[in-house]
Amino acid sequence: MNQLLALPTTHDEAWRYADPAALAALDPGELDRWCDITLAPGEAACRVLVLDDASPGVQRLRLTLAQGARGAIFAIASASAYTRLEVEVRLARGAHFEFGGVTVGGGDATREFVTRVIHAEPEATSNQVVRSVHWGRATGNFLGAVHVARDAQQTDAAQNFRAILLEKGASANAKPELEIFADDVKCAHGAAIGALDDTAGFYMAARGIPPEVARRLLVRAFIADAFVALEDEAQRDDLLEQAVARLEGSRL
């Protein structure tokens, strides 16, 4: 009974767009498991995660970036059951955090990224780009919290979320959350949710491109935004291919 009480519900802000039924089925022990990564001053590291049917459920990453360190995470959430990646990042002076995420899929699953980026010291930067493509009754979410500490001047934090819903019934939610206690900072956030661009579709058709090919080109370009900052070209292409491959089963 005590274990059940420990489970989050959709009344918790950080879980508000999660799937209630999926939450009730979570293993509470799993929820306490964090994967900790610490980067030394000036160190750079990049991690790529594909959360497909081999790893649904909740994954938690805690990233601690020392002065001038650069940490990057690129992820796809595409499992056919509830999938959630939580990332908590603490940035020391001059550190940089880069996040690129894609939620993609149909069915009725919720797939979400929940990030908390703590600019603890001055001059750190962060950039987060999340793209969601859904159909059926699926949901894609991005809950992005940015916390700027009192003396973290010259913080530059950006987050951008865009979703394409290929069918009625699919949904997407964005929840940017900025807590800023310093006064000389830049924090940008943007979110847009819509259907595929019909105007571009007709333009492509007018040049002879069949609709299914046009939609694929458009969705591929849309998803690619999330991986632009992935420096290793082979890795970037591989991740994009994996995300695009998940479109099988959609009406694309």
Partner: protein, 251 residues
């Protein structure tokens, strides 16, 4: 080549084309002029098959086929090219990729072999050169960051690569400075003028002004007003319109 008979079309239930008839034969250049709101752009979109433009009456035959029965991409593969007044930006898709997909899709529909990457680039370079557009620009995303004039030149590069039988060019002259107007005009002539023994070609220019017609000399000029052709004539009609205005000429 193109026969439009008593065409009626609506957008959102509002009738814009009200019985438009027009005949274009191979080797001819026609210009359609007319006041704002007359239905000029609608005609282009209806012929291109844009969603939301509903044909409520009439027929359109293109190269012996019922054009209105074809999907937009099939119309393109049949040899119809629609030059856009406002070319669309497509972030994340390069012009090279876009046009290679387009050309090979058209070739596939016609039962022809696709062009290899090398063959395509050679063709693209030649057509870009014809329109004096830097080949590097074709490596950028479709129309993104292009000036108005560059977009129009890029439209003509696309036309050169796709090599259509009929080009419907909707205000291709707008947004062009004097030098670009000449380059575009000469480009249209080079790509779309029928050559002796060459394939059939025809052009339908939709324009407000005489200035493009100085370079691409039309064989016929039509005045479109209130959703139908109200007057047709030779090239002198365009000059008369320019001098006297639509109201005086079309009344």
């Amino acid at each position: 080549m193109l026969r439009i008979d008593n065409l009626h079309a609506t957008i959102g239930g509002k009738e814009i084309l009200k019985g438009l008839s027009l005949n274009l034969n191979a080797g001819e250049v026609h210009a359609i002029m007319g006041p704002n709101g007359a239905g000029k752009s609608t005609l282009g979109y209806v012929l291109g098959g844009r969603p939301g433009y509903e044909v409520t009456g009439g027929t359109v035959t293109f190269r012996g086929q019922d054009l209105l029965a074809l999907d937009p991409h099939e119309r393109a593969a049949t040899g119809l090219f629609l030059g856009f007044q406002y070319p669309v930006e497509i972030p994340g898709v390069s012009f090279v990729q876009f046009l290679r997909e387009a050309l090979n899709a058209q070739r596939n529909t016609r039962g022809e072999e696709p062009l290899s990457g090398g063959e395509f680039l050679k063709l693209a370079r030649a057509k870009a050169g014809l329109l004096k557009l830097d080949m590097e620009m074709l490596k950028r995303p479709v129309n993104v960051g292009f000036s108005g004039g560059e977009k129009k030149r890029a439209e003509m590069v696309q036309m050169g690569i796709l090599d259509p039988a009929l080009a419907i060019l909707d205000e291709t002259d707008s947004g062009l400075d004097i030098d670009a107007l000449r380059v575009v005009g000469e480009g249209i002539n080079a790509i779309m003028r029928q050559q002796d023994g060459g394939p059939d070609k025809a052009v339908l220019l939709i324009t407000h002004y005489q200035r493009l017609l100085d370079y691409v000399k039309p064989d016929f000029v039509h005045v479109l007003a209130g959703g139908r052709i109200v007057k047709s004539g030779g090239p002198e009609l365009a000059l008369q319109l320019e001098a006297e205005g639509y109201e005086a000429v079309a009344a």
